[in-house]
Amino acid sequence: MSPLKGMALARHIFENREEYPRKLKKEGKSVIGYICCFSPPEIMHAAGALPYRITGQPGESTSEVDNYLEPFGCSYIRNIFSRYIRGKLDFLDGLVISHSCDMVQRLYGIWTYYYPFPYSRLVNVPHQLHPWSQDFFYRELVLFKESLENHFKIEISTEALTVSIDLYNHIRQLIRELYQLRGGSNPKLLSSELMEVLVAGEVLSPEDFLLLLQDAVDEIASRNVPVVNPNSVRILVWGSILDHPHFYRLIEEAGGQIVTDDTCLGERFWNKDVPVTEDPVEGLKEQYLLNFQCPRIDRGPGTQRFAYLKEMAEQYRVQGAIGYVMSFCDPHKLDYPDLHDYLDKEGIPMLLIDDNYSLQSSGSISTRLQAFMEMLS
């Protein structure tokens, strides 16, 4: 590892996301790229591989994908795939995509057709929570594990998988400590900083990430120069994938402090431990199908499906919610009107920002953010 530690290391990894996997690959480690967490990284880790969550670079050119993907598609997907075509992800030994949303699922077929990998896998995910759908997902996870066993010619023992789950749960606990430091009554951490830590976590092995987190928690806890304006408006961010601090910075500049979030790389992933079960796959099923609050799962009608957000808002004394949705992102866009009305009834105003993963119009976005903060404060 580099001599850097804690937050400085997080920034370094964030800015040089390809350096670490390249190095590990040289040392003989297999690197498996994945996109959504319905394919649990715990299983890939237990198989001895480095689970590398593929992230994008907002604003980068995506013209490389025009020969493969339609313009009317999620810009995040286009961004990721064009990075691969440009050779930015040339260290990947495998690709795992779960059927999290339609866009990602179609990408899998197109990507693996034109660029086959030595190992690739689509993890199929039910949309409903029927008992049989849950059983399906359990079997699907078992088959996923077996496919890794066959590929790597290894056996993933129950113990090995349990160790991986423990390790990730330990990470979850530390991340929750960071959440407290950003969302407590005296915030010491900005979300834009936290984002760099979270992205570093998608790159590093869980062992290395754990070390980084321990240092980061100590470092932030002992901060005595305030980084957060005490008068900031307390904001909850909800939405599609956010894997770059840019948007968070805009909110901070407009006078907001993101005290909590409901996003893929954020709370959705870390807020609960994977249940410890005798059969570890059971625990993973519960975590990723039931606990993970992605709108692509049908949790039935009624606004009760958003009750967890009200709880979060109460816990973090949220003053307003900001939604960030990607153009063409059906799961989020279809939930938005119901969510907006629900939060409104609960006295939490909501502002929606629709973006194509470029934040090109950050000028006008900033104006809207500022107006929203003024209204709230």
Partner: protein, 437 residues
């Protein structure tokens, strides 16, 4: 777009499709007034045979979307939905429904701006499905949240991805268990809602009708291999109605039988949709329902669509009807295996529980080019439906390897705002020139 498009009016070539309203009173003349009988709102993917077995009244919001689109009333509903916060990116059928529901509640019944379009009665319960796209189950989730707080059940029919071997016994078992339990779950819900037990003997009879109708329909589609082409897309896009919504009804059998006889007769006599057939085309994607006259325009310049990938029932599936529920599972699974064996890279990993199919790039293309003597392809990129247009560029690439040129054009199935007659014509003519070379 101009609502004045000259492609608005579509002319059908067959007597059967021209008389469709008379021939299918069960669909076109069904009651509009609210009664005590339960009405199910259904998503495509709900087997119509089951609805028949429970004697249910039904409405299909997707079909309602196409009707509102054809009659140019969809834009008003779509705008209303946008006002509620539904993005213009969202499936225009969904937004059409949302706008309609809002107006329905304001008016305490179907709103007056529908004009000639028959309004949907209010639902007693909702039958959603996870077929093909996310909007399909999110749609009813939100209808039941905002507008009609009625019971809801959505199915979850999953299929293996393109690179997994569907004939592998473990994979087969894995998916069959899901499909079977999913269907039984739907039946349990229907039994609970209607207070009736599913009558298996009745369902068997219904399945016999269903198979018979599909058999004639399959033969009609095969007859389209003939040169010159005996029917066109304006016929096809009307004739899908029984396949989508009326399988299991005697009317559907009679309709397709009559259509088969008519098309067969036209083939024997060499009667074609245009006397200058020069280019034979395959169509991908949903049609622009508001401008189906585009197909007539193509015919007027010698280009006939002879195969539509959308709604296509695909291969004929023989079924053992002794256990009719199992036959439904078998139909679904066999279609999934068939698609999987052809390597449909960009197919959704969901099955079609009804008899409807759709495909984008796959090995099937080679066969079709040969059998239907194709010269080119038109791929309609529907802005608000990515589910059925994502994969078109890939299809275009695969067709290019077979020396088949493609025209990709962008518009929508129900929202005419992106349409321009002039642009469409320019693109068509450039494409024809390309095929000439």
């Amino acid at each position: 777009m101009s609502t004045e498009s000259e492609m608005k009016k579509a002319v059908r070539h067959l007597e059967t499709t021209a008389r469709i309203k008379e021939l299918l009173p069960g669909f076109f003349a069904r009651p509009t007034e609210e009664t005590d009988r339960p009405v199910a709102w259904c998503m495509v993917g709900v087997p119509p045979e089951l609805l028949k077995a429970f004697d249910l009244e039904w409405e299909w919001p997707e079909n309602f979307g196409t009707l509102c689109a054809s009659n140019l009333v969809a834009p008003k509903f779509i705008e209303l939905a946008e006002g509620e916060g539904y993005s213009s990116d969202i499936c225009s059928y969904v937004n059409n429904t949302m706008g309609y529901c809002k107006r329905y509640l304001e008016e305490k019944g179907a709103p007056p701006e529908l004009g000639k379009v028959r309004g949907m009665r209010k639902p007693s319960f909702l039958l959603g499905s996870g077929v093909t796209c996310e909007p399909r189950y999110k749609w009813f989730q939100t209808v039941a949240t905002r507008y009609f707080q009625v019971p809801i059940h959505s199915t979850d029919p999953l299929a293996p991805p393109w690179d997994q071997d569907a004939t592998d016994l473990r994979i087969e078992k894995h998916y069959l268990e899901q499909l079977r339990r999913d269907l039984h779950g739907q039946v349990d819900f229907l039994e609970k809602q209607t207070g009736q037990k599913l009558d298996m003997e009745r369902l068997k009879k219904i399945m016999e009708y269903s198979q018979e109708a599909l058999w004639y329909w399959y033969q009609v589609l095969q007859l389209r291999k003939a040169v010159p082409s005996p029917m066109g897309s304006t016929d096809y896009f009307m004739a899908i109605i029984p396949q989508m919504y009326m399988l299991g009804e005697l009317e559907a059998v009679n309709f397709y039988r009559q259509m088969y006889n008519e098309v067969k007769d036209r083939v024997e006599k060499g009667i074609s949709v245009t006397n200058k057939e020069k280019y034979r085309l395959i169509w991908f994607g949903l049609p622009p329902w508001f401008n189906l006259g585009m197909f007539n325009y193509l015919e007027s310049v010698g280009a006939v669509v002879v195969y539509e990938s959308i709604y296509n029932m695909g291969e004929w599936v023989e079924l053992d009807l002794s256990d009719p529920l199992e036959a439904l599972v078998e139909r679904t699974w066999k279609k999934a295996v068939d698609a999987n064996e052809r390597g449909a890279e960009t197919r959704p990993e969901t099955c079609e529980l009804s008899a409807v199919g759709n495909f984008t790039g796959s090995n099937l293309l080679e066969e079709l080019v040969e059998d239907f003597k194709l010269d080119g392809a038109i791929l309609h990129q529907t802005r608000s439906c990515r589910a059925l247009s994502f994969g078109h560029i890939h299809t275009k690439n695969r067709l290019a390897r077979l020396d088949i040129p493609s025209l990709v054009f962008e518009s929508d199935m129900a929202d005419p705002r992106l349409w321009s007659d002039a642009q469409v014509k320019t693109r068509i003519h450039a494409f024809l020139e390309m095929m000439d070379k």
